[in-house]
Subunit: 148 residues, 2 copies
């Protein structure tokens, strides 16, 4: 197994790193996928309905298992973000089409992606995905005026 990330070094804004992440999912490219993650020991990934997965080796193994059934056609939409100097907290609604043994399936996924800026540039430290609501409405936004 090749853990060398140097051949897939990525640079860019949090948005560009996020694009790399989803391109890697769509291509089933495990090395490219892992290259967007931080080297921190406590990086966390939660797949929809799954437990907490901590650290690059376990995260890599989880995506290897996913990719053994094919690539993941996840398209992030409706980005919401909160930024600071060295962090970017992204919330996206993913429209996911999975090509598996039983054919294509579609689903909505609510994902939080957190990027921190370190010596290597912006890197993913948390990907938390959970199943979207069965309702078509995946988002609730109300203004204060609506409440009164």
């Amino acid at each position: 197994m090749n853990h060398d990330r140097s051949t897939h070094a990525v640079l860019g804004s949090p948005e560009q790193i996020e694009t790399q992440f989803y391109e890697a999912l769509q291509n089933g490219d495990i090395d490219k996928l892992m290259s967007v993650w931080s080297d921190d020991d406590d990086i966390v990934c939660v797949h929809p309905g799954g437990p907490r997965i901590v650290g690059a080796p376990a995260i890599r193994a989880s995506f290897d298992a996913i990719f053994s059934n094919g690539a993941v056609y996840a398209e992030p939409q409706k980005l919401r973000r909160v930024l600071s100097h060295s962090s970017a907290v992204h919330s996206v609604l993913e429209c996911v089409r999975v090509i598996g043994p039983e054919g294509p399936q579609s689903a909505w996924i609510v994902s939080t992606n957190v990027y921190l800026k370190g010596p290597q540039g912006w890197r993913l430290v948390c990907h938390h995905a959970s199943p979207g609501s069965p309702r078509e409405l995946q988002e609730i936004v109300e203004t204060a005026s609506i409440l009164h």
Copy 2:
């Protein structure tokens, strides 16, 4: 409805803000709960199995609805965190005991809590909670050596 947060101003480390958050859940204290959140318009909350909720008014309304069934006895455990100068990305496994009309229920929840440091101090910008695995094991951690 009182949106004044000044009476519940909180200061402290990300850990202290997180403690305030869970104490507010356990006490069903909506004002204290909202006081830990950032003023940013794009703060995001995802309740287990639910859609994305954006902004303080909608988040407040969601917790009002939850508290109408009673307080939430959620105890965060097994903190994992990635820190930068102005951000703290926390992953916790919550043991939740909900006191509802049908009596107490227990569940495991996997939560990501992200705190950013702003002019007001550390504040919560994202709480993403999803149902834990039905297995007892809520966490997968493997070292590289195990994979070879």
